[in-house]
């Protein structure tokens, strides 16, 4: 858990905010948003909205009322209380990459396996800066299809003692996640225990499977992240302001649904805003547009008084190269400037989210640690001015041995995990390893360090029984 006490960087003027405000109101009231779920349509109809086939035309004030019901901040409990996370306010929580079908280790790119999934869980457990392994850290292609969500939840529950994300592929899968979480933690209604990602099928349509999962989670008081996933040019117009109003329209309508399902249930305003390359049609990540969108979104979410999700170490790059480095930071630094509360894809994301990279994971943890250091406010007091050190060293001397230095030298500066400041000869002597090669060594060493967090045998047994029983029922 990181508490970001630095100022937020806000770039929208009051006028701009007012314009955006008019914009989303027009979209929801004049164009409307489609919900591919009879249950959802029924709830909206009952609430007095105008429903035409699958399309709902909203009264903007109604949406604001629903939004006002959602909690501003809430806790999500982990089985190790020290890892319980607070979502909202100045808090920032970080989860690993989510959803990639492939993995990359060094020069090899291949289908992801359950073993990879386990190793990423272990890395997320070992690095203290990570608050969660996320959910689908990679898609374990070798696990049986209809029941692999059980394997994933079981792995997240046993290999880490941090919070984890729920499965959203279908309503029943969501129910399994909830059931297994109950086995692990008992009461999960008072303090929720698993966050789930519900993506909008933009533009302006919420899809049936996602909605089924949302019904399960919201009814069980588990937080859902309602994310318009907007690649400008494909799912939204080629304009950041237009995309922002679409994002508000989609997120608020999704949030309103949660509040109708269970008033007061926790929700997170999601944002994932980037663009496609208009030449080739490929999605681009770590772009300037995306950074600007992120800064604006933070300001907007705060305006609605909602916790929000965005950011991540995103990149289009295929390997852990320089592009991966600058693109990852191009999104992560604005993530801190804007103070996102829940950050997915913090570590390991490569190739537009198609690949989870082991080296990239280490690189991203380094970036995360640097930013957490950078966004810890300076203490500026008389004492911090170290006048005595200046007086002691005087003119043209050096501070290596000053009393002030002696008291602080171990902790005074950020100490890198991956970055090297070796001089050239030493670097050559050590094998001239670039950052990616050093990252390989680091993640292997970290996997050696891993120790499974203790878990009550009875609970483990019960979880295993549940998995076995459900797998049989699902016919895998």
């Amino acid at each position: 858990m990181f508490l970001n006490q630095m100022p937020r960087y806000e770039i929208l003027s009051a006028d701009a905010m007012a314009t955006l405000d008019r914009g989303w109101r027009r979209i929801v009231s004049e164009i409307g948003v489609e919900f591919m779920s009879p249950r959802a349509l029924e709830l909206f109809r009952k609430a007095g909205m105008k429903v035409e086939e699958n399309n709902v035309l909203f009264d903007p004030e109604f949406l604001l009322e629903q939004v006002a019901k959602a909690p501003r901040e809430f806790d999500v409990q982990a089985r190790n209380p020290a890892n319980t996370v607070h979502i909202g306010g100045d808090h920032m929580a970080f989860g690993a990459v989510y959803g990639s079908p492939f993995v990359r280790e060094g020069d090899v790119r291949r289908d992801a396996t359950l073993d990879d999934f386990h190793r990423f869980c272990k890395l997320s457990q070992v690095f203290g800066e990570m608050d969660s392994a996320g959910g689908v850290v990679c898609e374990p292609g070798d696990a049986p299809l209809d029941s692999r969500h059980l394997d994933m939840v079981y792995a997240l529950q046993t290999l880490t003692d941090k919070i984890y994300m729920g499965n959203v592929v279908s309503g029943p899968n969501a129910a399994d996640t909830i059931a297994m979480t109950r086995i692990l933690l008992g009461d999960i209604e008072t303090v929720p225990a698993t966050i789930s990602l519900i993506n909008c099928n933009s533009p302006l349509r919420w899809d049936d499977r996602m909605l089924d999962a949302q019904f399960e989670y919201s009814a069980a008081n588990q937080p859902v992240v309602l994310t318009p996933f907007l690649l400008m040019g494909a799912m939204s117009p080629v304009s950041v302001p237009a995309t922002l109003v679409q994002q508000i329209a989609e997120a608020l309508t999704g949030i309103a649904l949660s509040q109708l399902i269970r008033p007061g249930c926790p929700v997170i305003f999601g944002s994932f805003l980037s663009n496609i390359d208009m030449q080739s049609g490929s999605p681009c990540f770590g772009t300037p547009e995306s950074a600007v969108g992120l800064l604006c979104t933070g300001q907007i979410a705060r305006r609605f008084g909602l916790p929000w999700r965005s950011g991540g170490a995103l990149t289009s790059s295929q390997t852990a190269d320089a592009q991966a480095g600058y693109e990852a930071l191009m999104t992560m630094l604005p993530t801190f400037l804007a103070g996102a509360n829940w950050v997915m894809h913090t570590a390991g994301w490569l190739e537009g989210g198609l690949v989870s990279g082991f080296e990239k994971f280490v690189m991203d943890v380094e970036i995360l640690r640097m930013l957490q250091h950078e966004f810890t406010p300076l203490e500026i007091t008389e004492e911090s001015l170290a006048f005595d050190a200046h007086a002691e060293v005087g003119h043209g001397g050096h501070f290596l041995g000053a009393a002030h230095t002696m008291e602080r030298f171990r902790t005074c500066f950020y100490r890198p995990l991956l970055s090297s400041s070796d001089n050239y000869e030493r670097w050559m002597r050590r094998g001239a390893k670039d950052a990616a090669a050093r990252a390989t060594e680091i993640y292997r060493a970290k996997l050696q360090e891993y120790e499974p967090p203790p878990l009550d045998d009875a609970i483990r047994e019960e979880l295993r029984d549940y998995v076995t029983r459900r797998r049989r029922e699902l016919g895998d």
């Binding site: 079908p101 898609e139 496609i276 030449q279």
Partner: protein, 223 residues
């Protein structure tokens, strides 16, 4: 205008996606007695091949492909009935859909744009298309090729389900099956028994043409 000028005009205007002009020139061509085949094979298809080449080189952007495709489609509205009479068809008919359980359609839309651009007639069933709908649509439209798009490893197994459904319906031999989508690989395509796979839209067009040529060569039909 001479015939040559009309063909040149058709080529030029299609290249820049000027649909009204293309339609107008098509009418003029017919009035001047140009054969529909001539216009199709000597102006429209070459124009779209050039569009494809420019896209590949990075000169043309996706929206430019799209409007060129639309311009050609406009001309085809007029020419298709006439071509049908003379027996000359479009390059081929392609039935496309994103598989059941999957709503990703950006990649599929790009493939459609490029296929139309290359002279295929494309019928798009949209997203979340169940095996039964594929079967029904194949019965109705008699496509040369059917394409399945999937972007989730959890929906890729629908390729196999679709192919099984085609086999049960006795249609498997009548169509070429192509598959694609970001997580799909050549190995996976082979494993489920698809006839073709492509990693991006321009390769998809190239593969579609090759597969069609191969099929027609076997069937002894003139390519």
């Amino acid at each position: 205008m001479t015939e040559q000028e009309i063909l040149q005009g058709l080529y030029d205007r299609t290249l820049v996606g000027d649909a009204p002009a293309v339609l107008d020139l098509t009418d003029q061509g017919l009035a001047a007695g140009l054969a529909p085949e001539t216009m199709l094979f000597e102006a429209l298809i070459p124009a779209l091949e050039e569009v494809g080449a420019r896209f590949e080189r990075g000169d043309f952007f996706v929206p430019e492909m799209l409007i060129a495709g639309r311009a050609m489609a406009g001309a085809m509205e007029v020419l298709r009935p006439l071509l049908a009479q003379t027996g000359a068809a479009s390059l081929g008919r392609f039935l496309m859909g994103t598989v059941k359980g999957d709503v990703h359609d950006i990649g599929k839309n790009l493939v459609n744009i490029m296929l139309e651009g290359a002279g295929f007639e494309v019928i798009d069933l949209g997203v979340q298309v169940a095996p039964e709908r594929f079967v029904a649509a194949i019965r109705e439209h008699r496509p040369d090729i059917v394409g399945f798009s999937a972007f989730l490893t959890t929906t890729m197994p629908m390729f196999k389900a679709n192919i099984n459904a085609l086999e049960k319906a006795g249609l498997r031999d009548q169509v070429i099956v192509m598959v694609g989508g970001a997580p799909v690989t050549q190995e996976y395509a082979d494993a489920v028994g698809a006839d073709g796979y492509a990693a991006d839209a321009s390769t998809a067009v190239r593969r579609a043409k090759e597969l069609l040529a191969g099929r027609r060569a076997v069937a002894g039909t003139p390519s």
